[in-house]
């Protein structure tokens, strides 16, 4: 009924291989984009942006990045927090060194620097895999956090070791600093999200993505059919770190404004992003969004219901939140290991036939 393919003909190869081959799906995608770009910026306030949209958008980029590495290429990484820190500190150094340059450029260069660091820490993946690789990336996490805490050059020798984002602009509009308008920071992050998602989607269904998936499914077989594991693995690390670096830069500069590396980019950050892609669905761009939305919105909703609505004590709600999120992760792993993305796929199949499934 909803997903009717009758009368939906593809007459050329590009049409046949587009991301949303079903017309209804395509229109829904355009509608989402339209609302995100032209409706939300006019209706949101500080609370909505800072509590829900910015964390959602920024975590979505990080989740897309990690999903490329873990979900598509099968290389388990626990270094996400450390790589986000690289993006944040690179962005900070660039912002303070070249104040007149547009933030767009700073964030992109921060992503490129992180990609370089990611490739370096990706080298061990050529020799080790699975749990051993996870431990190696864990070492990256701790090393990077230690480095940014230890070397004062990274935080411009400030007394407290905090980095704080000064006011910087894009096309003359402020996007960082305390006087930023809600819509400006939202649109700035949204632009990066769309850019990341489109690139990631097209990479993963092209030659690169096929190589990554071949490595994921069986690396020896992939090597025999001619996939170069060095290039495939390192390119996955580079692309993944590029997105994670962008999200780290936005996380620091646009969302928080001031960070302390141990607190903001600690090991918990790595696990949060990993949970997002596990709940959302490994190897799915939509899953990255769903997982990020789930883990960002759920605590806010629980808080609204528990504290503001039912008037429960704040500590009980905070504890309940841990219990509920933990339980949901376990339930998801048991009941639907492929995450929210799989639920969506199943729902789509059902809707295609609805209301006459036979």
């Amino acid at each position: 009924m909803f997903y009717r393919e009758a009368g939906d003909f593809s007459t050329s190869y590009p049409e046949d291989s587009q991301t949303f081959p079903i017309r209804f799906d395509r229109y829904r995608y355009y509608l989402v984009l339209f609302v995100a770009i032209f409706v939300i910026p006019f209706t949101i306030n500080d609370y909505w942006v800072n509590s829900i949209f910015l964390p959602f958008l920024i975590y979505a980029i990080a989740a897309i990045g990690l999903n490329i590495l873990v979900g598509y290429c099968g290389q388990v990484s626990l270094g996400t927090g450390g790589f986000m820190a690289v993006g944040a500190y690179a962005c900070y150094k660039l912002m303070t060194a070249f104040p007149e340059v547009s933030m767009l450029i700073h964030v992109l260069i921060a992503g490129l620097i992180t990609a370089g660091v990611g490739v370096m820490f990706g080298l061990p993946s050529l020799r080790i895999k699975g749990f051993y690789l996870a431990v190696a990336t864990l070492a990256a996490q701790f090393f990077l956090v230690w480095l940014f805490n230890r070397v004062p050059w990274f935080y411009n020798y400030s007394a407290s070791g905090q980095i704080s984002a000064p006011e910087r602009t894009v096309f003359g509009i402020e996007v960082t600093g305390p006087n930023t308008e809600a819509w400006a920071s939202y649109l700035f992050c949204l632009a990066f999200v769309i850019f990341s998602a489109v690139i990631a989607r097209n990479l993963t269904r092209g030659a690169f993505g096929r190589k990554w998936m071949a490595i994921r499914d069986m690396d020896i077989a992939a090597e025999i059919i001619g996939v170069n594991p060095l290039r495939a693995k390192l390119s996955a690390f580079a692309v993944s770190s590029f997105f994670i670096g962008i999200s780290g830069a936005l996380f620091f500069a646009v969302y928080l404004g001031a960070v302390e590396v141990g607190e903001a980019f600690g090991i918990t950050k790595s696990f949060t992003v990993l949970f997002m892609i596990i709940i959302g669905g490994l190897g799915s761009i939509f899953g990255s969004f769903a997982g990020a939305a789930f883990l960002v919105v759920l605590p806010v909703v629980l808080k609204l219901v528990g504290v503001d609505w039912l008037g429960w004590p704040t500590d009980i709600v905070a504890h309940l939140q841990l219990v509920i999120v933990g339980a949901l992760i376990v339930i998801f792993l048991i009941a639907e290991p492929h995450g929210l993305a799989q639920l969506w796929r199943v729902a789509k199949e059902k809707l295609r036939l609805w209301p006459f499934p036979h």
């Binding site: 500080d46 609370y47 800072n50 509590s51 964390p55 805490n149 007394a159 407290s160 070791g161 905090q162 704080s164 000064p166 006011e167 600093g177 305390p178 006087n179 969302y255 928080l256 404004g257 001031a258 960070v259 302390e260 141990g262 607190e263 903001a264 600690g266 806010v300 808080k303 504290v307 503001d308 609505w309 039912l310 008037g311 004590p313 704040t314 500590d315 709600v317 905070a318 504890h319 841990l322």
Partner: protein, 425 residues
């Protein structure tokens, strides 16, 4: 069932809505996580004092107070969410009780025109009100604390040539005193060793091994949360003399010394307010708040060090609100008026006695240039057999000759970085 839920929701909203017209004091508390042991008593003290004002005096200047509690878990991301969700409800002053969250809120709250009171924490150079128009850290800050500790040691004997170790939480908070201590080391000729401890601070074996090897004459600690008790326990394990071990005020509560038992006897901590529950106000709290069943949290923290600090913070906020009401001649003050009240705040002995807190803290007054107060530091010592802290050194001034240039330098750098014009004409 649906109807019931709906009516319940309506009832909840109705019950919550008349509160909106009150004086709103958000409390960004943390009753969960590794720092909860410190967050709970502070939040309880803050809420209980505001409750007391409502029950005994009918609020402040005839307007009821309302404490909006929001759980941050000492986490900056949740701190942002708490700030955004409470600021729209007329929040008068923020007390985040976290240096990280304070750093983050300084530019935001200044842009929104809401004052921040980071009492004994936060960014030390915010004492310069000329640059930080909306941030207050009276009556004492980290650098006063560092200097107070050194002054105390000097009063006990010559410290030239001695070795002093700083064990600190490896974060913005713990790093704050380093510059001051380095300057003081130059001035007085002692040797400073830095020993960082990473969050959350449960692992300190290597730091204390180093202390055992180098045998510093004194150890100063800037710790918070679970780090404190671990440090006191480790010091006891290597038999470091507790009399030579001094904690900042955030490392000097019952939670920090009780786990080590008798071994913690003699441990010292700095303070900027009174300890114990030997003040008339506690009888009122018992009568109007605890006995009425309105005590915040479990109600078992009354009279502990951090409870007293929360109470002191609430008292200073209430007095500032009173001052603001007098200046502007209205009961319903706005955050901007609250800021004026904080800047004109004057705490005298007579005022404190009238509030039932005689001699609880130093006398001081705030001005546009000086948001930091006088920085008078006292010293307390733990008695493990009686399980009490006692004040062993009266509130004494710290070395402003060293601190003031550092404040001026750091705030000038901030002003230049953010293009802030002088706010005091």
């Amino acid at each position: 069932m649906k109807m019931k839920l709906g009516t319940m929701a309506v009832a909840a909203v109705m019950a919550a809505s008349p509160v909106m017209a009150d004086l709103v004091f958000p409390s960004l508390s943390y009753r969960t996580g590794p720092y909860a042991a410190g967050g709970i008593p502070f939040a309880d003290g803050y809420a209980d004092y505001m409750n007391l004002l409502n029950a005994r005096d009918g609020g402040i200047g005839g307007v009821m107070t309302n404490v909006l509690e929001c759980e941050t878990g000492y986490n900056t991301e949740k701190g942002v969410e708490c700030y955004e969700s409470t600021k729209g409800q007329g929040a008068l002053v923020y007390q985040p009780l976290s240096t990280g969250i304070t750093y983050q809120l300084i530019p935001k709250a200044t842009a929104d025109g809401i004052p921040i009171h980071s009492m004994g924490y936060g960014r030390t150079s915010a004492a310069n009100g000329d640059v930080f128009s909306n941030v207050f850290n009276y009556p004492a800050n980290y650098w006063n604390g560092a200097s107070g500790a050194i002054n105390y040691l000097m009063s006990q004997g010559d410290i030239a040539g001695k070795k002093i170790a700083l064990v600190y939480h490896n974060s913005a908070y713990g790093k704050e005193p380093i510059r001051t201590l380095e300057e003081l080391a130059k001035k007085h000729g002692f040797e400073l060793t830095l020993l960082p401890v990473d969050h959350p601070g449960q692992e300190q074996k290597s730091q204390w091994l180093q202390i055992r090897r180098e045998k510093p004459d004194n150890v100063i600690m800037y710790g918070w949360g679970v780090m404190n008790q671990v440090a006191v326990q480790e010091a006891a394990n290597i038999r470091y003399p507790m009399e030579d071990f001094i904690g900042i005020w955030w490392s000097g509560s019952e939670n920090d010394v009780l786990p080590a038992g008798d071994a913690a006897d003699g441990y010292k901590a700095l303070t900027f307010h009174g300890v114990g529950d030997d003040f008339p106000v506690f009888a009122d709290i018992q009568k109007y708040v605890v006995d009425a069943g309105n005590a915040a949290g479990a109600g078992d923290q009354v009279g502990t060090v951090l409870y007293n600090r929360g109470l002191y913070a609430a008292m200073l906020a209430a007095e500032a609100a009173k001052t603001a009401q007098e200046i502007h001649g209205t009961g319903d003050i706005t955050p901007a008026m609250m800021r004026d009240g904080m800047e004109a705040l004057e705490i005298t002995e007579a005022k404190m006695t009238a509030l039932g807190l005689p001699g609880f803290g130093p006398e001081f007054s705030v001005s546009c240039e000086n948001h930091g107060g006088p920085g008078l530091i006292g010293m307390t010592q733990w008695d493990a057999s009686a399980k009490t802290w006692s004040l062993i050194n009266e509130f004494a001034p710290s070395d402003m000759d060293v601190i003031q240039p550092l404040i001026d330098e750091d705030s000038a750098a901030y002003a230049a970085e953010n293009n802030i014009a002088s706010s005091c004409k």
